[in-house]
């Protein structure tokens, strides 16, 4: 069972209180009606599926209820950091020396 730091509660808590909520930093377009089919497909379906550092959303559903973002390494399953919704993507390379979104061996 993972331990996850909720940036709203300021506590590191058991995974059972949290729910995964998909890839982070995929903003809903301001005016969906103006989106081309290709743009809408990109928003609706395309996800990065990285082997490495993945930016993703979690919800502290059985806690404070807030959605927040996390950087998690999909190979080690280790959280590098979590941060509040709306905050910019942190610089993981500066934090840890691991390049974000880069496949193993390509570093």
């Amino acid at each position: 069972m993972l331990l996850i730091h909720c940036p709203y509660c300021g506590e590191t808590l058991p995974e059972t209180e949290f729910a995964y909520a998909g890839e982070a930093h995929i903003a809903r377009p301001e005016n969906p009606s103006e989106q081309t089919d290709a743009e809408w497909v990109e928003y609706l379906f395309m996800r990065s599926n990285v082997k490495g550092v993945h930016f993703e959303r979690w919800r502290h559903i059985h806690g404070c209820g807030r959605f927040f973002n996390a950087a998690r390494h999909t190979v080690t399953d280790k959280f590098l950091t979590t941060y509040k919704a709306g905050e910019p993507r942190p610089d993981i390379e500066a934090l840890t020396g691991i390049k974000a979104g880069v496949k193993e061996g390509e570093k």
Partner: protein, 176 residues
């Protein structure tokens, strides 16, 4: 009452009486106005409970409190909040009936709680609480005293939770 009080294995499990309860949601800018109307402080530290004017407010999330008062206090709470709504918009929704209130207390209460709560209970001091999960059931738990916990559980989940608590009570009574 939906179940009888029972003491065994170093824990007492009992139902607590009804109270007026509300879910209160308000943003930072309007919090002070609502707190003033209610006559208590509203902390934004998740897990901390404050009290005043015979009312209690447990902060469950950055903009969420569960507000409780005496059973007859519901109308006064509603009126107090309505009075500041236009100036300080917020959400007040009565949930007095949503939950059953269970108290588990006694020297073995931590062992009982540790059969269902994955959190480190030592980090929840007297007067603090949290929304969490008890053996798969969503609950709001409050540590009333060192050896006394209160579990607020949605009505329909209560039989399941109580089934667990009474089962573990027998386990604790076995001494093993």
């Amino acid at each position: 009452m939906t179940f009888d009080k029972k003491t065994a294995g170093g824990v007492t499990i009992e139902e607590l009486p009804a109270e007026a309860r509300f879910s209160l949601r308000v943003r930072d800018g309007e919090r002070a106005a609502v707190a003033g109307a209610l006559g208590l402080e509203l902390t934004d530290t998740v897990g901390v409970m404050t009290s005043g004017s015979g009312r209690k407010a447990l902060c469950l999330g950055p903009d969420e409190w569960v507000l409780s008062g005496a059973p007859g206090d519901a109308a006064a709470i509603t009126a107090a909040c309505a009075g500041v709504y236009d100036a300080a918009p917020h959400s007040l929704v009565e949930i007095s009936e949503r939950e059953i209130f269970i108290r588990a207390s006694g020297p073995a209460v931590e062992a009982l709680m540790a059969t269902g709560v994955a959190r480190d209970l030592s980090r929840i001091g007297p007067g603090q609480g949290a929304r969490t999960v008890f053996d798969g059931t969503p609950v709001v738990l409050v540590r009333e005293k060192t050896d006394s916990f209160r579990l607020n559980v949605w009505r329909s989940f209560a039989p399941h939770l109580l089934g667990h608590l009474f089962h573990v009570q027998k386990e604790l009574a076995s001494g093993l």
